[in-house]
Each structure stands twice: as C-alpha cells, then as structure tokens.
Amino acid sequence: MDIKELYQEIILDHGKNPRNKNICKDFNKDAKGHNPLCGDKVHIFLKLSNEKKLENISFEGEGCAISMASASIMTEIIKGKQFNIAKKIQEDFLNMIKEGSKLNMNSLSDTENMTMMSLSGVKRFPMRVKCATLAWHTFIEAVEGNKKIVNTEN
C-alpha cells in the first residue's frame, strides 16, 4: 500500500491546520486522553446541553499527524449533533479503523463521510490505530466517564 493512502491530503490539512483546537470557553465537560506508548496527548472540551446536544466541542493536544487530524475531524463532524448520534458515529468510526468495515451512518453528509473515510487507511497500520482512536475514546469519557468531569461553573 502506498504511504499516501495513509497520509491523504485531508489528513495532512487537518494535521497542519487543526479545526477547533482551543479551549472552548463555554465547556461543561472535559477529559484527557493520553497514549503513554507514543506520547500522544489530547484534552477534549465540550458543552453538552440539558437536551444532550453537543453545542460546542474543541480540543488541545500534542501528537502525530494522525492523532491530531483525527481529533480535528471528530470535532468538526460531531459539533452540533445530539450525543446519541455522535456516539453512533464514534462506534461506526471505531469499526472502520479496527475492523475495516464501511461507514453505515445515513445521517452524515457526503462531505462528512468522505472526511471520516480519509482515516480508513490507518486500519493497515496496526501500530497507529491508537493514534487515530484516542480523541474518539476521550470524547466518550468526557461525556460518560467519571475519571475527570470538570464543570466550569463549580
């Protein structure tokens, strides 16, 4: 396989110019993700409304192009969506990366689908799967986990 299938333009673009890479001011949930094996670090900040809508999401972090692009792509895609939908997208994404299965979410636009698909090449690089999935696991932890949930109001 050509290495360019892994490092596609979309990934390189998100890696170099990550979207939503900041601490969004209105966040009410956050979680940190760390991959001690390779040092990738990501911190997810999000605002979840009472109706469980992801009104805002952003991230901070340091890591390889794959981990940063994946975090950037994730925030772009799930921002504004209901959490239950975002969770399905996350499961779909993990299946694509780990099992090589196709995305089967109908609710995504063609552009969103294409953007997520750009990370499908990671499947063939087992050592890099954790880089691609780190942000997605951390996002779930921020909403559902109990390890670190910070409320700016408290």
Binding site: I3, L6, Y7, L12, C38, E62, G63, A65
Partner: protein, 405 residues
Amino acid sequence: MDIKEIKSKFPIFKNKVNGKQLVYLDSANSSQKPKTVIDRISKFYSKEFSNVGRSVHSLAVTATNRFEETRDLMQRYVNAKSREEIIFTKNATEAINLVASSYGEKFIKSGDEILITELEHHANYVPWHFIREKKGATIKFAECNERGEVDIDEIKKLISNKTKIIAVTHISNVTGAIMPIKKIVDLASQKKIPVLVDGCQGAPHIKLDMQELGCDFYTISCHKMYGPTGVGILYAKKKWLDILPPYQGGGGMIEEVKKDNITFPGSPTRFEAGTLQTAEVVGFSESIKFIEDVGIKNIMKHEKEILEYGLEKIKKNNSVKIIGEPKNRGSIISFSIKGIHPHDIATILDEDGVAIRAGHHCCQILHDKMGLVASARASLGIYNSKEDIDILSNAIKKCKKIFNN
C-alpha cells in the same frame, strides 16, 4: 572488514520488509541475531537440554557445563576478576532492580541521596524511585547540558556525605553521549561511594574492561549484543556480592532450608533464583564469540565511520535537527524534523524498509528537559553500511515531500 559478509550471517536480512530490503537502524532498542546464535539455541534444545545445576544425570552435566561456559566467556569479555562476579538476570532492567533492591535495602536510609543523571533510561531511574519511596531517600539528578551530555562537574557538585550510590548510564540511548565513567569512579571512590553503570549501550559497542573502568556494578542487556532476549548480566565486584542480601527467593539459591532458618550460598548462586533462561544463556555464548571474532575494535572503528557519515549526511538536510552534540558519541543519532511528528517519520520510513525508533525511548526526563515530546532515533549495529544511511537520508527527504514542508 567485509560488512556484506558479516551481514550475511544474519538471516533476518534475507527477508524483505514492505517489499524493500531491510535497513535496520534500531539496534539500540534490540539488535538482530546471527545464525550461529539461533542455531545454538536449537542445538541445545535438540541435543543437550536439561535443567542446570541440579540433577546428576549426563544431560544435566552437559547443560550445566554449556551454561557455565557463557559465564566464563562473559568474565573474559568484561575482564572481571572472577567468574562469580557475573550474574545472569532476565535483562539489564532486572540487574539494576537487583542492585537497587539488595543494596538499597541494606545501605540506603531515610534522608540518604541517590545520584543519577537526566540522561538515564527509565530502567535506571524507576528502581531507584522505588527505594526513594520505601526508604524516604532523595534522588539527585545531575543536569545534562545543551550538547546532551553530563559534565563531570555537574556530578561532582551533587556528591555529598549523604550520597549512597551513583547510578549513571555508560552511553545515552538518546544523545549518544559517552559518559566519563572513569572520572566518575575516581570522584566516587574518594568518598567510598559505589558506582553502578547502565551499560546497555556500552557493552555491544565499546571495549569493556572492568579493571580499568573500576565501577562497582555494570549492567548489560544481552539482546542488544546480538544475543537472545531474556538474558541480562550484572557484573558486580565480589566485595558487594559477599555482603548484599539475596534479591529473589526460590529454588537453586539456597544453602540449607530449615523450618526456622534458611541460609544462602555465595555468588552467583545466591542471586540466581529459580530455573534460568538456560537455552538463551547458552545461545548468548555465540553472541560473545561473534563479537570477539569480528573484534570489538573493528566494531568500534566501523560504527564510528558509519556514524560520522550519517551525521554529516543528515546535517546537510536543513529541516532535520540532530538531538544533542556530545563530544564523545556512541553510535546513536536522534533527530527531529520540523512540523513532522516522530511517529509519522517512523511510519513513512518503514514504508521504505527503514526501521527506526520513535518516541521518548524510555527517557521522558531528558525529552522534557530538551522541550521535546518525542524524537526519532537511528541507531547502528555492525551490519549497517553507508548504503543504509543513504536510504535513510532519502526516506527522510520523502517525509518532507509527503508533508510538503
């Protein structure tokens, strides 16, 4: 010296990686194995295997003799005074843990100081951390300078009346800095402080002479010395082995066992509990023979030549920054490329069959100090050639092209 011929002794190089010839630049992590080592393990299991040091049947005698021959070879390799000063462990990490635990238990008290450096691999920090926690001791870190080396004065100024041990690497596995061990030992001996040397990056690459070096403990990773995994060596001066308590308890390390008392034999038996990695130790004898056949001086000369060629070639690439510039450097080149994370570098290089290491190389303290999260590292072995460096250099250019910087 015919490197092609030497390389042909390593079966792994007959395989393609991602359809390309393998350029193995990860020997500081673990080296490849010559066929003689692989065959020796197979022969041992096929014809000579038995547990060692226990039974009296013929196979046990043969196996014990083969096993103990490696100890003799190692005694000669490091120029230890006696064979009892060579202890087999499962790896260098265990060898350091053994000293930290046994020496720490007996000699380190609350308020005492353990002196290490910022260059240390986690294996020469974490075991001391355990002792720090257990005994209420302090760990002092001798600072490394911008060249990625630790100046002898940095060590000198941290030695105090509370210093109970100095534990330093022989060669940094990140910057390649060769430490002035003899000078450190001279300083330490004035105050009767024992010195432990983490020799993982030293033993495969430079001539070792414990009498000349003078350190109290020297730890070796055999799988970095063209040997099997699962074998490490602790060299320790007999005066310590005579008084240190055993590290692990079990079969093989006892003298007499009664319900109310247990006595222990001397070294090395005292420190080798349970059945050891017999076949691997026997296989390792062939690694020592391999290194001695090539000649450590020839290895040093060859690796220096490739190292200098590599440094020069990589320095020409403006976007590559070499990490550390020690005056005395072992065969290690760590580097970073602006705008490209080391893991991306490693993945792209791998596509061209070039195996390097990316990460913090078990040296987070050093990376923090240098303001880096991770780095890429190319490390040499006897099988590397200038051609390998050329392929590395071209693959690095490819990284730039893919990332378009």
